[in-house]
């Protein structure tokens, strides 16, 4: 199967595929390992055909053993390879938690800088695809507490390529989260040439004056849609796509909030102890006296999992209408 030719309109899944392909071509140290990444070509067909071109030593099918996938990848990274490990669904990452948090994130510190761990762990996450209990979860909050880890959650094909390249270049472990609902939903032009986007830099996707909305992943798109609808009613909302969950772009958030004086955070992961809690606390610490309204978080409910039944999934996922309503309320406040 031909790899998507560069410089064209791509979906998110195509952007990831082409970036991985370029990385394999560019650097012989690049290795991909994970469940079904070889012969099956990944469940979303991201690596389809790679094993034929690059061989089973660089495109490695692994057993269903996530702790081993990450553990082996850590060893590869410490010894000079550039492994890109895949966790088939973020829901399955828990067995690898110890490897990621206890090993990868601490390698540089523990070895006093003698070893680093240039590892990328890619994983599709998020709901809205009838994935139910074990194919819908958001995991960012479980890891963003951990120093030594970088967590990226890009939302557009352009950002997928730029940040995945940055993650591969990065000398330390990066958790690369791909919202699976956006995989084939979002299309945009991606430049042909190699480029990176700085990790830790948010993107102001819409400039506005009455309210700052911070989001990432799928909801970055919906938040933008909602804000554009409000713009038609003459309500000006600024939308920030975080892109990088950790490190977080404090400067962009604070600058925006100081301008609009109101902050709404929208994420799919549940509210309690989520990314929004950290953003709220940071803004309260740094910009309390610029706030003209209580900070509000629109986030997933505190339930163990997303239901399979459509009404349950719809209840969990935040619709664009709900986002628009929340924005309207906050502007009116």
């Amino acid at each position: 199967m031909a790899v998507a030719s560069p410089g064209k309109i791509m979906t998110n899944v195509e952007a990831v595929r082409s970036t991985l392909y370029d990385a394999l071509k560019r650097d012989e140290r690049t290795v991909i390992l994970g469940e079904d990444v070889g012969n099956r070509g990944n469940v979303f067909l991201i690596t389809k055909g790679f094993i034929d071109e690059f061989g089973p030593e660089r495109i490695i099918d692994t057993p269903i053993a996530e702790a081993s996938i990450v553990g082996i990848a850590i060893g590869m990274a410490m010894e000079g390879l550039r492994p890109i490990a895949e966790i088939q669904f973020a829901d399955f990452i828990y067995p690898a938690f110890n490897q990621i948090v206890g090993e990868a994130a601490k390698t540089r510190y523990r070895s006093n800088g003698e070893y680093t761990c240039p590892l990328v762990i890619r994983t599709p996450y998020g709901g809205g695809v009838r994935g139910a209990l074990s194919h819908s979860v958001s995991i960012e909050a479980l890891f963003y507490h951990v120093p030594g880890l970088k967590i990226l959650a890009p939302s557009t094909p352009y950002d997928m390529k730029g940040l995945l390249n940055a993650a591969i270049e990065d000398p330390d472990p990066v958790l690369f989260l791909e919202h699976k609902r956006t995989y084939r939903l979002i299309k945009a032009e991606v430049p042909e040439e190699y480029y990176t986007i700085p990790i830790g830099k948010a993107n102001v996707t819409k400039v506005g004056s009455k309210l700052t909305v911070v989001s990432y992943g799928l909801y970055a798109h919906q938040a933008l849609d909602a804000a554009n609808r409000l713009e038609d009613d003459g309500i000006s909302v600024e939308v920030v796509d975080l892109r990088s969950v950790r490190p977080m772009d404090r400067g962009t958030i604070l600058e925006s909030v100081r301008k609009t004086r109101k902050l709404l955070i929208i994420h799919e992961d549940n509210k309690f102890g989520g990314i929004g809690a950290e953003i709220s606390a940071m803004v309260a610490e740094e910009a309390l006296f610029d706030l003209d309204a209580p900070i509000r978080r629109l986030a997933g409910p505190d339930v163990p999992a997303m239901g399979y039944a459509l009404p349950l999934e719809e209840e969990f996922m935040i619709s664009t209408e709900r986002m628009a309503d929340a924005m309207r309320d906050m502007v009116k406040f």
Binding site: R261, L288, F289, D290, L291, D292, A293, D329, K332, F333
Partner: protein, 450 residues
């Protein structure tokens, strides 16, 4: 619907106002709270905000014309209310209660029965009535950090702003809008300076601190025409001196210990509060304590008798290069020395920046004049009309003093002069007051608490 706008009552003793300048002409659109006329009244020039949004239909009073408060001055065709049921022609006193309030609303007096509605209204005054949102406390409780910060920065009283947010909440934008319209929109503003000077456009605030002089340009051989403020100052001085038979007395006060106390506190105070600590707040504290002992010093002479004020509102005379202003610390007897320092400091700062509002200038019941800054050791001040007295602080001077045990010591001495309305009190009360004040000032020392 046509709304008739009446001459507001911009001060407790004010019965008439002069239209200094129309900021709008017939046919102009006017936003609610947008300044549309400048009215000059007793010592104050105020831009008056429109009570409704609409189009100016007619201006009923010419510029320069003086009319009684409550007189119709303009008609505004209100926007968007014509279709409302029962469109009754209504009369709105802009930023003021419709009926002149007898006595002083700020200081309900012994002549106003306590069940009188106006006496019952706490701290109500003309300007804030029409735009009030609820009690100040309620407004403050709902004020966001941003609103508080902006209000502080722009010297705007949140309680005077009509909120556009949910449930009438005052938003940050409301504060900015009020600021852009000039403090007049929120408070009704401005010192008498430059009544005849061109009015700065609403967005051109703030007025420079060295605003127009009430003295005009004193060119030898010419007559400087009187502007409104100068006229008013002249008139009030004559009135006070004519109506109130002034008597005068002076005591010499040993402020050595007080000076030490102030010296000990001043650096920390400046560091904590960003303003200097002068003798003034100590002095005012002593004055309000003496007033508590001699309530007749906090009174005024009216036809029916001697009206003894309930509240103690201390005016501070501030001489500016351009004119004299006397902003008022309300309920000064309820404030600590620190509270007085902060309240006084804010008023002095506002005065220097020409930012005093009507609220700041009205309601005084007794006046303190810090006259010693330029070295004066004695002065005979004219009483602020409608008060029983005015007391001055003269320069603090080191002098050889014979002490109780007949030794000679170098002490820091300050003269305190009192002018009194002899209709209200006689020398017996006045000298008792002065002696009490002296005793309190001399008792103040480094052991005290601010």
């Amino acid at each position: 619907m046509a709304t008739t706008i009446t001459m507001p009552q911009l001060g407790e003793t004010v019965t008439e106002g002069t239209v200094a300048q129309w900021l709008k002409k017939p046919g102009d659109n006017v936003e609610k709270y947008e300044a549309f006329v400048e009215v000059s009244t007793d010592k104050v020039n105020a831009e008056v905000p429109a009570p409704v949004t609409g189009t100016i239909r007619e201006l009923l009073v010419k510029e320069g014309e003086t009319v009684a408060t409550g007189t119709a001055i303009a008609i505004i065709d209100e926007v968007g209310v014509a279709s409302k049921p029962a469109p009754v022609e209504k009369e709105v006193g802009v930023g003021a209660s419709k009926t002149p309030v007898p006595g002083e609303t700020n200081a309900p007096s012994t002549f106003v029965p306590t069940d009188h509605p106006q006496a019952a209204a706490p701290q109500s005054n003309g300007t804030s009535h029409a735009v009030h949102n609820g009690s100040s406390e309620q407004v403050l409780r709902g004020a966001s950090p941003a609103v508080r910060k902006l209000a502080r920065e722009h010297h705007i009283d949140i309680a005077t702003i009509k909120g556009s947010g949910a449930n009438g909440r005052v938003t940050a934008e409301d504060v900015l809008q009020a600021a852009a319209m000039g403090p007049a929109a929120a408070v009704g503003q401005a010192i008498a300076s430059g009544a005849t000077a061109p009015i700065s456009p609403p967005t051109a605030k703030p007025i420079p601190a060295d605003g127009k002089s009430t003295y005009g340009e004193p060119i030898p051989g010419t007559i400087v025409p009187l502007n409104q403020a100068r006229k008013i100052i002249a008139q009030r001085m004559v009135e006070s001196k004519h109506n109130a038979p002034h008597a005068w007395s002076m005591v010499e006060v040993d402020v050595t210990n007080l000076w030490k106390w102030r010296t000990r506190e001043k650096d920390a105070f400046t560091r904590d509060h960003g303003m200097s600590l002068t003798l003034l707040p100590f002095f005012i504290r002593a004055v309000v304590e003496s007033i508590a002992v001699f309530p007749l010093m906090n009174a005024r002479f009216v036809e029916q008798g001697i009206e003894v004020h309930k509240n103690v509102n201390i005016g501070i005379a501030i001489g500016l290069a351009t004119n004299l202003v006397v902003p008022v610390i309300k309920n000064a007897d309820k404030l600590s020395i620190k509270g007085l320092a902060l309240a006084g400091g804010e008023l002095i700062d506002k005065a220097r920046r020409n930012k005093l509002g009507v609220d700041d200038l009205q309601g005084g019941t007794f006046t303190v004049n810090n006259n010693g800054a330029n070295g004066s050791v004695a002065s005979a001040p004219i009483i602020n009309g409608g008060q029983a007295g005015i007391v001055t602080m003269e320069a603090v001077v080191k002098k050889p003093v014979v002490t109780k045990d007949d030794a000679i010591a170098i002490r820091s001495m300050m003269n305190v002069c009192l002018s009194l309305d002899h209709r209200v009190v006689d020398g017996y009360v006045a000298s008792g007051f002065l002696a009490d004040l002296k005793k309190r000032l001399e008792a103040m020392g480094p052991q005290g608490v601010l």
